[in-house]
Amino acid sequence: MSKDHQHKILAHTGSVCPVCLKALAAVRRQEGDAVFLIKNCPEHGEFRTCIWRGKITMPSWQRPKKPSAPRSPVAVTEKGCPFDCGLCSAHGQHTCTALLEITARCNLRCKVCFADAGSGSGQDPSLARISVLYDEILRASGPCNIQLSGGEPTMRDDLAEIIRLGRRKGFSFLQLNTNGIRLGLDASYARSLQEAGLASVFLQFDGISDDVHQAIRGKALAALKEQAIIHCGAAGLGVVLVPTIIPGINTGQIGEIVRYGARFSPVVRGVHFQPVSYFGRYPAPPLDQDRITLPEIMEQLARQCEGEIRTEHFAPPACEHALCSFHANYLLQPDGSLQALGAGRQACCSTSNACDPLPTAMEGRDKSVSFTARQWAAPDVCDAPVDPAASVDDLDIFLRRAQTHRFSISGMAFQDAWNLDLERLQGCCIHVISPEGKLIPFCAYNLTSTEGRSLYRMAEAP
């Protein structure tokens, strides 16, 4: 293959300088089987970051949608993307999930933490302030899914009241982003949150063995995580396992995490992988070998769950930008095997040009909101006894099993100051409600420079 074929500009986009956070033009450049985001800061030089690596090519991973601006964008955009987030009229997607950070406190001190939790001495927002923030989400985006986050939200003793308040405001799906320590220690705690109206637990779950938890979280947590899952199951809460995947630490457990989650189905509703990002708190500026990209995780899933998971099962998202995530759904069979549901990549536009008419961003967002609420909450189980004499066909058997044992496998790649791609940012549907009441794309909110300077989190934009 000639060099011209090996090196090809795939797209022009924008980014920032990781050192000074100045806005920069950037390109996505294919080099062999990897794609790099390349940008040049007049002051700090060129930055090249691997953003895609593997046999699933970036040009094949598409899901175009018609952008749709926020319903009440911020009136003034002075500095341009990503400095005027709030959201502005250049944003192309609505809120699917709004993150509400209810504390900066944490009972762990992890080596990696997007929120750099436990470092500050800031006060928790009051219940009255949280009420205002809920209202602000409703005003700006309408009803959407809510994720209560932090810090570690279970540090607050009034968490159940915060959940009740959210439900009273009209949010039907509330999820808790947690390390699971309190849920694991206290059997009655999960029930109190479920009774308050919580639907789902987004459980930090980096691996199945203590060496992984020790390496990333600084504590042996395997037994506590399992207790948390058991307590959530008894309380009627759905659980999603959320591993942060870090090269050299837990890439070898990707398949085992899926099998572990499947063992706890239907309490565990799926696994949501997050490749490590370098924002907030992290040990050192990243080299390309410190990153794992979405296609590499899909390939590892196929390799480590050979025979059950294939890379063709995975599809790009209908809601967020195609390059931000992948997902596939499975039916967990009684023998513990996973059977793929749906047509994977064939079902969307990535392998065909016959995508007419182009769906709107809003349609994708609506699908995602309802799918997430349905899949990540505990299943509605019909307790009616099955009449053994009744006629049963394949469709009945499928429907009965799928009602409880559908299992989702997904992954989402966050962006940091090195790999930030403004086209992706403008398609973002995961928005943090800031303490000031502005909705800000998750990756912009958490972006930090090499010197630890933040664009939005407790900071003024440059």
């Binding site: 599809a315 998202p317 209908a318 809601c319 997902h327 759904n329 059977q339 793929a340 549901l341 749906g342 047509a343 994977g344 064939q346 079902a347 969307c348 699908k367 995602s368 799918f371 997430t372 006629s391 049963v392 066909d393 394949d394 469709l395 009945d396 058997i397 499928f398 429907l399 799928a402 559908r406």
Partner: protein, 69 residues
């Protein structure tokens, strides 16, 4: 795995073949998943009758579960 399910007395006939419909096992596939069910079929040309309540009921529910988000 499949037993009697959607076979029933019906007034529908296969018009081109002028045949009564007979119960037969049929593979129904959607988005890569295959289900075996018994339906009324024209044994000459293979025409399959899918009654409205099946199409709007169980089949619709299965489609929704299989469809991508």
């Amino acid at each position: 795995m499949s037993t009697f399910s959607f076979i029933s007395q019906t007034t529908w006939r296969c018009a081109p073949c002028n045949q009564e419909l007979q119960p037969e096992k049929v593979n129904v596939s959607y988005m890569g998943s295959v289900f075996t069910v018994e339906l009324m079929v024209c044994s000459t040309c293979g025409f399959v009758l899918i009654p409205e309540d099946l199409a709007m009921g169980k089949m619709h529910a299965v489609e929704q579960l299989l469809e991508d988000k």
